[in-house]
Amino acid sequence: MKILVPVKRVVDYNVKVRVKSDGTGVETAGVKMSMNPFDEIAVEEAVRLKEKGVATEIIAVSMGVAQCGETIRTALAMGADRGILVETDADLQPLAVAKMLKVLVDREQPTLVVMGKQAIDDDMNATGQMLAALLGWAQGTFASKVAIEGDKATVTREIDGGLETVALKLPAVVTTDLRLNEPRYASLPNIMKARKKPIETIKPADLGVDPAPRLTVIKVAEPPKRQAGKKVGSVAELVAKLKTEAKVI
């Protein structure tokens, strides 16, 4: 079976993100970019399924500027077999991405799409669900465990207050949570081998999708600065301050 893994290029999780001075977004010029960590987990899960003999081919897909090819290359170094880059300078939002992924799924006919539950840049947590809806497929989101048997997937989901296990009929979309696995390192020999794996580059128009954004960002602002803590002398003083200053009780 084929697995399709969408991977997003985002600001590296180690970077201290700065809001642009004009409030239109966050600064990405000269900033280190990496694969969305949840997508790394998705790639790892796909590679493990291939190593177990469940999957036969892993296709990594990324959408966005030309440098998204590097993100695909990272997935190839981890063990994906080939890549598809949908190259566009457009500001991509979840619905447009889901629509383009749907066309790619129709074309590639994977049995499973494994992807991050959300990207750490905009934290939308929407694309996987939208894709499942557009395809009419089952979905198992926030997966912390995935088991495939025959035409069924058993997915353990991390939900508020506990774990929920769902049985899905394949084909299905699975979105990954943090505890699903620990992504492997790309070994240097595999990094070198990845250079020779194929990446197909196409445009949104080739998929018949207009990626123009439907949502408008009005303003991006820094969260308020954390105030310095205060030491209190007694419980009574604490309660008083919680009432009069913090106004939480």
């Binding site: 000269g30 990496s34 030309a66 440098q67 590097e70 290359r73 990272t74 170094a77 390192y185 790309a186 070994s187 240097l188 020999p189 595999n190 990094i191 070198m192 990845a194 250079r195």
Partner: protein
């Protein structure tokens, strides 16, 4: 009016240096993650123990970090000097100089003698184990009375049938205790003057007559083992001689170039880590009603140090790039070693100063890094020796 079309430029793989390719960037990413997650949380114990666990080296071998430039047939990646510089820089950023040098002596100071000077049979015998991290290597050139001045070497190798008999003492040998295979320089022609008449031998641990005199106690690089090695009628098969007899000096000189690029890169990795540590500290440490960061005297000194480190780092990359193209870059490499060895100490001094009392405590990373930095202007070609190499080439 005609407009001039801008020259089309290919986007660089990253903004550090135009010669970096995507595989360099990916290697750096993997190394950084490895150092952050597998080294920094646990390496403090290695400082006390005095050595790096072998399983760490095997793990690095499995990830291909120990065979960056070696042939693919033996498990290497056949990459270039720029990739080596990235390795050294990222290991330097670990804040554990002793860990970094344990690896770098193996990959870039010892094993190149075999990779460059060994026959196909010799390479096939040892290189796969070296690249996998199963066979750890050391290089033994320095003696109690001969360091950068190789010509003063006294250790001898006397031909005896199909063997050589090695006699002498080697000093300051990094990985001397840990190593399974030591590349030993010895005089094969006692009549030859100066640097002539030296050959290199691969000597395996356990060879009769080869022993570790003592483990040496150092100011810094505590997690790196350093030893005195003793050869007492140590019988080594002629098949273990690397390269032509009496030509060892040239192999040593060639290898010094690589070693010095690596040490420069390691030093600049350390310098970057120290500036980052100092930044974290001064942004939260308060004195006289404000954070230290709010004092111009401090933040401007940090700013200037960051500029000097950025410049030195580019010189490291430049030398590595020239080397990767096969150009002679003795001038640039000597400049790198002299500059970076001194600069890392200036950065260390200033960053410890900015840490105040905390920087004097053994529990702070900067305290360790100050001790580790000191050797960077001494080992692998002291600043004074390097400056003479530079001066000679100023024309």
């Amino acid at each position: 009016m005609d407009t001039v079309e801008p020259v089309a430029r290919e986007a660089p793989a990253c903004l550090d240096h135009p010669a970096f390719r995507p595989e360099h960037v990916m290697l750096r990413d993997q190394l950084r993650r490895f150092v952050e997650t597998e080294i920094k949380p646990v390496a403090a114990a290695w400082e006390n123990k005095g050595s790096v666990p072998r399983e760490v080296l095997r793990r690095m071998g499995a990830l291909g970090f120990l065979g960056i430039r070696y042939e693919e047939a033996h498990g290497g990646a056949a990459l270039d000097t720029l990739a080596t510089a990235i390795l050294a820089e990222e290991l330097g950023r670990s804040t554990y100089g002793g860990f970094a040098i344990t690896v770098l002596v193996h990959t870039d100071m010892a094993s190149p003698h075999l990779a460059n000077g060994g026959t196909e049979a010799q390479r096939a015998r040892w290189m796969p184990g070296i690249i996998a991290g199963e066979i750890i290597t050391a290089v033994a050139v320095t003696e109690p009375d001969a360091g950068s001045d190789v010509a003063g070497m006294r250790t001898s190798a006397r031909r005896d049938g199909d063997d050589y008999l090695l006699n002498g003492t080697k000093m300051y040998i990094t990985n001397g205790v840990l190593a399974d295979l030591v590349f030993v320089a010895a005089r094969t022609d006692p009549q030859a003057k100066g640097s002539r008449g030296i050959s290199i031998f691969a000597v395996e641990r356990g060879t009769p007559g080869f022993s570790v005199g003592r483990a040496l106690d150092k100011q810094g690089w505590r997690s790196s083992d350093t030893a005195e090695l003793v050869f007492d009628d140590c019988r080594v098969a002629a098949a273990n001689r690397l390269g032509a007899e009496n030509r060892g000096f040239y192999a040593i000189m060639r290898n010094f170039q690589n070693e010095r690029i690596v040490l420069g890169a390691q030093a600049m990795g350390e310098a970057q880590a120290m500036i980052a540590l100092a930044l974290d500290w001064v942004r939260q440490r308060r004195a006289f009603g404000a954070t230290l960061w709010e004092k111009q005297a401090i933040r401007q000194r940090l700013a200037m140090l960051s500029a000097r480190v950025a410049a030195a780092r580019q010189l490291v990359y430049h030398a590595a790039w020239l080397d990767s193209l096969g150009h002679d870059c003795t001038l640039q490499v000597s400049q790198v070693k002299a500059l970076c060895g001194e600069l890392v100490n200036e950065v260390a001094y200033a960053c410890q100063q900015f840490h105040g009392g905390m920087g004097y405590l053994r529990e702070s990373a900067i305290e360790r890094m100050v001790r580790d930095a000191r050797v960077q202007s001494i080992g692998g070609g002291a600043t004074e020796v390097m400056l003479e190499e530079v001066a000679k080439r100023l024309g």
